[in-house]
Symmetry: C2
């Protein structure tokens, strides 16, 4: 069994070849892998059955087992995802900017791969294929560290990708699975300074905090989404109703779902009873501050509730005196993910977009649009809640760096 | 005395107001500060004298004392630097990209400040003014942690900047100096998660490694520059001579100076004696591998020499069999800073630029051009040797993030 360090070294070595590969060569591997996944579905389902059986014995919840389970349909979905990546523009080689200095030196800023991207993720085996596909297309090698509960599935999936790399004359180590999915292996990735160029954790708060605490390699944090919908005094209340319900109910388990509803006091008396009825009809539990509870009977919301990403059919509600109070509430409890205002007041919309600090600031639309596919990127490898390197939905571009090419004719610095 | 945490909290608070400030308001403070620095030169020189006297008592080297010393000319230089920053375009508010989705949602990616930028730097007091100026212009608050040896000078400089901020109706805490310049204060900055949005260390390898090891906030590493000049078989040897000498000798103490000369075996016999004579005439000590020493008498270069950023009049020399060997040598010993090839062979130049992994890859010019001012950025806050967030010379743009503004008419996600 290779150690994590050996795996990273192998990936680093492979990354040199990947970096200069023509787009057509990368696309050929991706397309062939898509076909191979479908052709070898039976093998994949066999491997997955071992993981699922072990998960049942270990008493994992039905939700986790559902996430872990592969089906023919999900395998087709993974293959389809790879075919979609084939269609995306290759970001590598783009001349982002270029200019000529007064002395005649020509400078170009050109997009290049990062090198080795490490992804630490939890039970879903489809992340294995999605992440490998995006890393390959962007010219990177990747080191994948899935959860132990999905290890057989992940090994079977990466084996198919690695076979296809080798069949196309490329280094199989462009896609590496960490062979030991123990807790320690994450620590080894986090300290693989000089070998891992970017690490992306895709998991819960404990993993994210561990990455922040222990990482010695560059990371992009795919953190919590404690998203707010603020219904302004000047909101179209029919729009506000649709947006609040959609943001909470359409998929409560994801990071771009709303967790708190803020309502301007001028419209709270009219709006809150309506939205509460619709939300409750959809099974949502409401907790509110004092002023919300004066209007609609609901449980008491604590500061903890306002700070919590429920990821469930639960919503915190507060009545605010004005736009400033709404912005201040978001400044205190938000997690820099997605914040929405519903208003027909142009000045309020502009102020909200300017003053709210978040990756995505939305006017008159649901928070649920924060997503690489929805944004038109064609894919997504995560949503950054930090401000450096990448912010918001991350796709191929966020898996690249730049380098400067300087061309002269014997220029020296005086 | 404020703790580091209190200082960071104050800066975070101030950063909210800075983020939405019009360009004219920022420029007014910068221009007034430039005038105030010149008007108060006597106070600054007084404060600086205390630092210099203490440094002499502590037995600091003449080089360090020279870096620490302020003069009327250097104060004018700092003021001039601020006036130059006034002339630069404000990066904040730039719409980097924008598009409309098929469903009619409009998306804009807009440049915004990072928030709080922390800079940890060594003796030069001018960094205090340069860093504060760039952070202010880009709408950030900054927390400056200079060295204890420059504390009186830094306090006098920041006092003037803070006075000007207050006189212009802004929060003085937009520019904060860490009041306790102890080693512990760096640790507190490194763990100020949620308060420091970006930390840039400007110092030697020990500081950089400490930042990599201990940081829980996003960092950009301004690391070592172990830069190479490779003289290809197809080089114009007169150009190569100029470039090699300029890259080594014009300012040996800086990160973009060359530290190793690689020469293709086909031209080593002709080129090495010439370049050795010129370099030695300029006071450069040469150490070489076996093949270089067969041509020119010099000390033996060890792998340690090839891995060392001398920052001095010393150069390691190796003879290589071909372009591949040169690229491999750079891959082994380079620090991802600046690498140069001298060649008239178009294919060799293209391969070198494509395959060498560095922030700046130069053809037929000196490595010394890697610099924000030389590149035309008008300023520089450091040179990134990492691949995420920023690469190469960093100026105003690298002190920003982006956010997505999404505009709809009641859009919900189906």
């Amino acid at each position: 069994m290779r150690t994590v360090r050996e795996t990273c070294q192998a990936a680093k070595h492979a990354s040199r070849g990947m970096a200069t590969l023509p787009t057509a060569a990368k696309d050929a591997v991706l397309a062939a892998t898509a076909d191979a996944l479908e052709a070898r579905a039976a093998d994949l389902l066999d491997a997955n059955r071992r993981d699922v059986a072990a998960a049942r014995r270990a008493g994992l919840t039905d939700t986790l087992i559902d996430r872990l389970t592969l089906t023919e349909g999900r395998i087709r979905g993974m293959a389809g995802g790879l075919r979609q990546v084939v269609q995306l523009d290759d970001p590598v080689g783009e001349v982002v900017a270029g200019w000529t200095l007064p002395n005649g030196l020509e400078i170009r800023r050109v997009r290049v791969p990062l090198g080795v991207v490490a992804i630490v993720y939890e039970a879903r085996p489809n992340v294995t294929v999605d992440a490998a596909g995006l890393c390959l297309k962007s010219g990177n090698a990747c080191v994948l560290r899935g959860s132990s509960s999905a290890q057989h599935s992940n090994a079977a999936l990466t084996a198919i990708i690695r076979e296809q790399l080798a069949e196309h004359g490329l280094s199989a180590d462009a896609v590496c699975l960490v062979e030991d999915p123990s807790r320690d292996s994450v620590g080894e990735l986090l300290t693989a300074q000089g070998l891992v160029d970017l690490l992306i954790p895709r998991g819960g708060p404990a993993l994210v905090q561990r990455v922040i605490d222990d990482s010695r390699v560059p990371v992009v944090i795919d953190g919590a989404g404690n998203c707010h919908v603020y219904v302004d005094a000047a909101a179209d209340l029919a729009q506000a109703l649709d947006i609040a319900v959609n943001a909470k109910v359409s998929r409560p388990s994801v990071c771009n779902a709303a967790e708190t509803l803020l309502v301007h006091e001028a419209v709270a008396g009219e709006f809150l009873p309506k939205v509460a009825a619709e939300l409750r009809a959809a099974g949502v539990e409401l907790v509110g501050d004092e002023r919300a509870r004066e209007i609609v009977d609901m449980g008491q919301a604590t500061d903890d509730d306002f700070a919590t990403e429920f990821l469930d059919l639960k919503l915190a509600v507060a009545v605010v005196t004005d736009l400033d109070a709404a912005i201040a509430h978001i400044g205190r409890f938000g997690t820099l993910h997605t914040e929405a205002v519903v208003t027909q007041d142009r000045a309020a919309a502009r102020r909200f977009q300017r003053e709210v600090d978040a990756a995505v600031v939305v006017v008159n639309a649901s928070t649920r649009f924060t997503d690489g596919e929805q944004f038109g990127f064609g894919a997504e490898i995560g949503i950054s809640t930090q401000k450096t390197h990448a912010r918001g939905p991350m796709a191929l571009r966020e898996l690249t760096s730049v380098k400067y090419l300087v061309d002269g004719d014997g220029h020296i610095r005086r």
